[in-house]
């Protein structure tokens, strides 16, 4: 890279990446739990994609029944710790809290969930669930992200033998590799993996389906297969200069940061992040935390169309990230390393009734922004090649088509959930898919 941002001290890195939502103390958790109205047929439960009985788990915190609280949470969601820390609660449970209508701060549901789950892991994962008698049937799961883990946990408790095949050395999928470290750490995700393993689920790491084992062999080994494979490569910008040193894709960059070896991640002095989704925000705020002096987000549409959540936008602005809306990259400039990015100003034109406004270039509005690093965050494609190799699977818009009743794909023994069926949503959606797919698989196998 042309201009590297100076490395920071260890303490400074730790400070920069410290949790933005610290844990509640016992006192504050009980006080907050007691503030909960214990609504009946509560809106927060409805707003949670996994429908955790939120008032019930919160009341249990209030009475000091912390194991019971954790049990209530796990009954709905096996990615409970990650969700507690990384869920966009503002638009889900906390956004639905009745206190919002009362013009009072909503109950801190995420932090309370974390309190109960932290306690559960601190207590050494005491047994809360009893598996049903063995079914003498096995299910292979591809991918150990939240969807795969949830599916595995649920199936194991239903009495199935479960093997999760994970290509990476460290399991957990995006929970381990894709969440900003100031929200969750890899160690959090690994606790969830341990929990699922405690039900008898085997997790084979460094086992890439297609490389180390063919899908055909895997399918033959099991009575059913669940695909929780997430998404594939980052989408390219398709402009010149993309091969210059200093151009990285957001997923790789975030993975690198997730190793928590902060000083080994090279960061440019001036960083341009392309795209304005939640991944872009993560990349931008992590760049700032690694010591970049100037970080900007370039987005071809306006603030209104941006897919990043409001609270993520606020966080980025608070961190000092500069937003260039209606700005599209034309080419990346540099000899061997990135030196600048040529952009063009855009305007939005009506694309017809009910359709998203279309960004259109404003002629001769090109200008160059000097930057040392470009992070591409305009989305990810599907793992098309792999998916296409599976007989009967239907893919539309990069999403595996499933029957929403039971999560079955076009291939009757293959089920799927998580990002590969929804194109990239929240951890909590993947956790829900995995659980529901497990019941779909159970129904399918027991009807067989």
């Amino acid at each position: 890279m042309k201009n590297l941002a100076p490395k920071l001290s260890h303490d400074q890195y730790e400070k920069n990446f410290e949790e933005i939502h610290p844990p509640l103390s016992n006192n504050s958790a009980v006080a907050e739990a007691n503030r909960c109205l214990y609504c009946y047929d509560s809106p927060c439960t409805k707003a949670c994609p996994t429908h955790i009985d939120i008032p019930a788990f919160i009341k249990k915190i209030g009475t000091g029944n912390l194991l019971g609280s954790a049990k209530t949470i796990f009954e709905s969601n096996w990615a409970a710790l990650t969700c507690a820390k990384a869920c966009p609660v503002q638009v889900l449970c906390e956004g639905a809290c009745v206190f919002n209508d009362k013009e009072e701060p909503p109950i801190q549901i995420g932090r309370l969930q974390r309190f109960a789950i932290d306690n559960y892991f601190e207590k050494g994962m005491p047994s809360l669930f009893k598996a049903e008698i063995k079914k003498e049937k096995s299910v292979g799961i591809v991918g150990s992200g939240p969807a795969g883990l949830a599916c595995g946990a649920e199936l194991a408790l239903l009495g199935y033998d479960v093997i999760i095949y994970e290509a990476n050395q460290i399991p957990g999928g995006l929970n381990s590799w894709g969440i900003a470290p100031y929200k969750t750490r890899q160690s959090d995700s690994l606790k969830e993996v341990d929990l699922v393993k405690s039900f008898g689920v085997k997790v084979q790491t460094n086992m890439s389906v297609g490389r180390d084992i063919t899908f055909h062999d895997l399918k033959n080994k099991h009575d059913a297969v669940f695909l929780g494979i997430g998404l594939g490569e980052s989408t390219d910008l398709k402009i010149s200069g993309e091969d210059l040193t200093g151009v990285v894709n957001a997923i790789d960059f975030i993975e690198e940061v997730k190793k928590e070896k902060w000083s080994s991640v090279n960061i440019g002095k001036r960083v341009a992040v392309i795209g304005a989704g939640n991944t872009s925000i993560d990349a931008a705020t992590e760049s700032i935390r690694l010591g970049a002096e100037e970080v900007m987000i370039l987005y071809r549409r306006s603030e209104e169309e941006m897919s990043a959540y409001d609270f993520e936008f606020e966080l980025a602005k608070k961190d000092g990230v500069i937003f260039h809306f209606l700005t599209s990259p034309k080419r990346i400039i540099g000899k061997t390393s990135v030196e600048g990015i040529e952009c063009i100003k855009m305007t939005l034109s009506d694309a017809g009734k009910g359709r998203r406004k279309k960004p259109v270039e404003i002629p001769n509005s090109n200008y160059i922004i000097p930057v040392d690093m470009v992070i591409k965050a305009i989305g990810q494609g599907a793992k098309t090649e792999f998916l296409n190799s599976i007989t009967g699977l239907k893919i539309e818009d990069g999403k595996v088509i499933i029957n929403p009743e039971n999560y079955q794909t076009g291939n009757e023994t293959v089920f799927a959930g998580g990002d590969c069926i929804n194109g990239g949503k929240e951890v909590v959606n993947a956790a829900y898919d995995g659980k529901m797919a497990a019941h779909g698989i159970h129904k399918y196998l027991s009807g067989k």
Binding site: A33, N34, C39, D41, S42, V98, F99
Partner: protein, 439 residues
């Protein structure tokens, strides 16, 4: 200009707020500091028999994360010698001539001993005496405190020993640990007491530690009942104050005590007939400074309501007290929910459904839940509006026009005249006539 001054049985103070005889009124240092902050009077922590205290002394009930909803104690009377206390009382009175200094006393049940301590108290220049017949722990084992308060005869006898030599007003402080609070109050009246202070603390075991099985407070593994005080006891105290205030035989000024933490609490006691009020637990929790809000809040309230003195307020709510048999059976209210204010917590639905009369339906409208009262089935119990967390969202609306009135007693009188017996059939006939439907 609002006048907050009071005269409770001849004991005058610039405002009704007194420290109760308790740890906060233990010493000259504390009482003087309290007066500096504005307290109108103090009842000096009980002076008398030699005692020794133990630790720990307190246990608390914390409710839903709120500290000290109630406080239990096993602390005894002053553990400092009579001489020391009397000297400090005299000094404090000299420094604060306009404040009420009442001295709480408790000695063994001997006439001479009582005569002696009463005379020594008068010599300090104190404004009054309060007889501690209430302390329910420790002292009662030694035949004092509530052991006296629980037996009207003892209460009368000892009060007479005091009043026969006292030249200053004598208040008798009652224990609530009795079947009928009026009886010891009448005994005090017969013995020429100037007023009644109530209530003292309530016998209690405050809690048990579920890890150690220790009863709280634990004195090196041993425990005992203590005296319960604080916000939790206010309703019990208000009831007892009202009983003494409405008893025609007693007819004495009252110093109200029991869970008073704010001017609002104080006003409730005054509205039920108290002349002064005494505070302990709230001071133990937050310090003497709370009196500033008490004085200010009471003053603003009086100004807003147009009252000039507490004489206009005292006992104002007492005339409403009636026996159940005199309530109008034809009074009808129903719950109305303001849908604009509703936040959809559905607590009214589940409270009514499981805890009352199943008349609030939870219906789904455009994907949202909505609570709707079936007014024909509503018994007007008020539970829904009590559980509703939104101010003014559920109101109880009066449906009768107040023109018709029939009390239970009147109805029974009518039955008697018509030669009807009290039966479900006859009662049903009355209900039917007035459109009262019972589910």
């Amino acid at each position: 200009m609002v006048d907050l001054s009071v005269n409770c049985g001849g004991i005058k103070s610039p405002n009704p707020f007194w420290l109760a005889s308790a740890p906060p009124s233990n010493s000259a240092y504390q009482n003087c500091k309290a007066f500096e902050q504005g307290w109108g009077g103090t009842v000096w922590k009980t002076v008398g028999e030699p005692v020794m205290n133990v630790c720990n002394r307190y246990g608390s009930i914390d409710f839903n994360g709120q500290k000290i909803a109630g406080l239990n104690n096993i602390e005894l009377i002053s553990d400092r010698p009579i001489e020391v206390n009397m000297k400090e009382i005299a000094e404090t009175k000299r420094l604060w001539p306009d404040r009420a200094i009442v001295v709480s006393l408790m000695v063994e049940s001997k006439k001479e001993t009582w005569h002696d301590i009463v005379k020594r108290t008068i010599d300090t220049g104190a404004d009054g005496i309060e007889l501690n017949y209430g302390c329910p722990h420790g002292m009662s084992e030694r035949g004092m405190g509530s052991a006296v308060g629980q037996v009207p005869e003892y209460c009368k006898m000892i009060t007479e020993w005091v009043t026969e030599v006292s030249t200053i007003p004598v208040l008798v402080k009652l224990t609530p640990n009795v079947n009928d609070i009026v009886l010891p109050a009448r005994a005090a009246k017969k013995a020429n007491a100037s007023g009644i202070s109530l209530i003292n603390t309530i016998n209690s075991i405050v809690g048990i530690d579920l890890d150690t099985f220790k009863i709280m407070p634990s004195v090196a593994g041993k425990s005992s009942h203590g005296g319960f005080a604080g916000p939790a006891i206010k309703p019990i105290a208000l009831h007892m104050v009202s009983q003494v205030a409405t008893d025609k035989e007693v007819n004495l000024p009252i110093s109200g005590i029991g869970g008073i933490s704010s001017w609002r609490d104080a006003l409730e006691f005054i509205l039920l007939g108290a002349s002064s009020v005494q505070v302990c637990t709230a001071v133990m929790h937050h310090g003497f400074r709370i009196v500033k809000d008490m004085i200010e809040g009471l003053t603003f309230w009086m100004e807003e309501k147009g009252f000039n003195s507490l004489d206009e307020v005292r006992g104002r709510s007492l005339p409403q007290l009636e026996v159940f048999g005199n309530f109008n059976l034809l009074h009808k209210t129903v719950a109305r929910i303001d849908q604009d204010k509703c936040i959809h917590c559905n607590l009214c639905h589940i409270a009514c459904e499981d805890g009352a009369h199943q008349c609030i339906d939870l219906i789904t409208e455009n994907g949202n839940t909505k609570t709707v009262v079936r007014e024909s089935d509503c018994v007007g119990c008020d539970l829904c509006s009590i559980v509703c967390p939104v101010e003014g969202c559920i109101s109880m609306v009066r449906l009768d026009e107040g023109k018709e009135e029939k009390t239970w007693n009147e109805l029974m009188e009518e039955f008697k005249k018509e030669g009807k017996e009290l039966s479900w059939e006859n009662l049903g006939e009355f209900q039917k006539k007035h459109g009262i439907v019972i589910h």
